[in-house]
Amino acid sequence: MAPVRLSALEPLLWGACAVVLAVLPFALSTFQVVQITVFLIFCLLAVSLDLSWGLAGLLSFGQAAFFGLGGYAYAILCANDETPGAALAAGIVAGGVAAGLLGYIAFYGRLSAMFLAVTTLVVTLILLQVLGSTADPSYHIGAAVLGGYNGMTNIPSLLPEPTPFFWTVGGLLFLLIVSGRLLMAAPFGRVLAAIRENERRVELLGYDARWHKLAIFALSGAIAGLAGALFASWGGFINPEVFSLAQSAQVVIWVLVGGRGSLYGAAIGAFLVQAMTQYLGSIGTAYTTLVLGALLVSFVLVMPNGLLPTFLRGLSSIGIRQR
């Protein structure tokens, strides 16, 4: 029994989304299907961050690291002749274990929220340098040559056909959002929300806040790892760029712009910002970075709650005025 009941409209929304995801490939060109697939992968990544940041208040600046590790794990296992399914599982485990280790140090060491952010960012930057330094062919794991800044290429796909792959990714995103929403309404999710609001109060009721935070942080990392494995499978390549500062910032920007705490906002933010980045990318990467930086500064200053919550609050305040 859940302490919070979801709105009756919400399952209707889910149904509509499922229908759209199912029929969308028929309305689009193959190129567009491939394009939107990667957007959906980024939505997965954004939702993973929202689960830790929006729900439990744990802001990781290293979500891109869990994503990248998932991608590398997938690529390495595939290169060693494991099945793509097993490689996908390895991606999930890699992201989850990395997040679990960092989370253990941060939460059981009682690091402040700010130090959690700094530590995860530093780990990401160091991963960038470590994997960048593996250009020499002597750096290999089994048959997988890491390839330095050039990264790994010719990674086999989970599903070679674009449309089934689209459905798989879309289905996973759908599942994640639905189960994430149910988790948020369940007792475990409410305890996490309470930890976000006032951790000490939760502990004074006998809950072990450290364990709860570790659990959601590792889960969030595992989902980021899944997204990373799907990304490596989608493009057939992975390189240390996934650990770059811009990439790490991008995940945070998606969730910040869309609005945290609802999972929907994160997905919307990822989709919108990514579409914009795609467009700007045709002009030049420096412009993209400039705009992303400006977005980050201006949203923190002007609209710290993000688009979706601000929009919904606007709607309800109009409703109150009409009454």
Binding site: M1, A2, P3, V4, P187, R190, V191, A193, A194, R196, E197, N198, R200, R201, V202, E203, L204, L205, G206, Y207, D208, A209
Partner: protein
């Protein structure tokens, strides 16, 4: 058990059936806390019987809140031991102490502003009872505290007195053996204080209570034995009547310009 007769008289109901005669629930030995060079609590030997309701009074800075924070695991003691219900809980983390059966309401209201009243009670009860029974406990508390109409409201939007009740309600939902209340009636109107007294008498039927208060009216209405803290030490432990008659208490506490409120 606290005596529930005639709340109007401050001096008659202090004959205190709640003496230390009952079996000991909580005991501290030589409990001390230093902050740097400042001694907040010094060498406190304290004993509370099962089923007792005890009030702690003393001027600001006497060490009452620090004492509470050590009992609930929010501050590790510098020296001394805390025994609760037969086990040594000195230096245990807050969640372990809570699991053994100590609930606390801190002086500064500590609630979850973004969560509803219902959720507060549900979460407080859920750890021990599971979802189904926690929901029942939450509904019951909403009725008992008169908060039913506010059940779905965010606690951040409530008035100060209501927030206090939410936090008291959480300690009740927790089903603790001992509840520590740090200034439960601060910021409440007179009628609210009276309701709180009635509520706490009810709670005291099954639970031991230690209450820090400044409000003499409140203490007169509810207390059996009163423990007076002064400069980190226990000054005197007696009935309210004797405490009020004590010249030293009058000097350090009442003479300090805070005769009630």
């Amino acid at each position: 058990m606290s005596d529930a007769s005639a709340p109007s008289s401050a001096f008659q109901n202090c004959t205190a059936s709640a003496g230390p005669a009952g079996k000991t629930l909580l005991e501290t030995r030589g409990l001390s806390k230093n902050f740097g060079g400042v001694k907040a609590v010094t060498d406190v030997d304290f004993r509370l019987g099962r089923g007792e309701l005890r009030c702690l009074i003393g001027p600001n800075g006497a060490g009452k809140s620090t004492f509470f924070k050590m009992l609930s695991g929010q501050l590790p003691p510098t020296a001394g031991t805390i025994l609760f219900d037969g086990s040594d809980i000195t230096g245990e983390p807050p969640h372990r102490i809570a699991r053994l059966g100590i609930g606390i309401k801190n002086q500064v209201p500590s609630v979850w502003d973004g969560l509803s009243v219902y959720e507060h009670f549900f979460i407080a009860a859920h750890r021990r009872l599971g979802a189904r029974r926690a929901a029942a406990v939450a509904d019951e508390l909403l009725m008992k505290l008169g908060l039913a109409t506010l059940a779905r409201r965010d606690v951040g939007a409530l008035a100060h007195g209501e927030r206090q009740w939410v936090e008291i309600g959480m300690t009740m939902a927790q089903d603790a053996k001992l509840i520590l209340l740090d200034e439960p009636t601060a910021g409440m109107a007179t009628d609210e204080v009276e309701r709180t007294v009635a509520l706490l008498r009810d709670v005291n039927v099954s639970t031991s209570l230690i209450i820090v208060e400044h409000d003499m009216q409140f203490i007169s209405m509810i207390a059996g034995i009163v423990t007076v803290f002064h400069q980190g030490r226990i000054l005197i432990e007696a009935t309210m009547e004797n405490v009020l008659a004590n010249p030293v208490v009058r000097e350090v506490y009442l003479g300090a310009g805070r005769p009630g409120r």
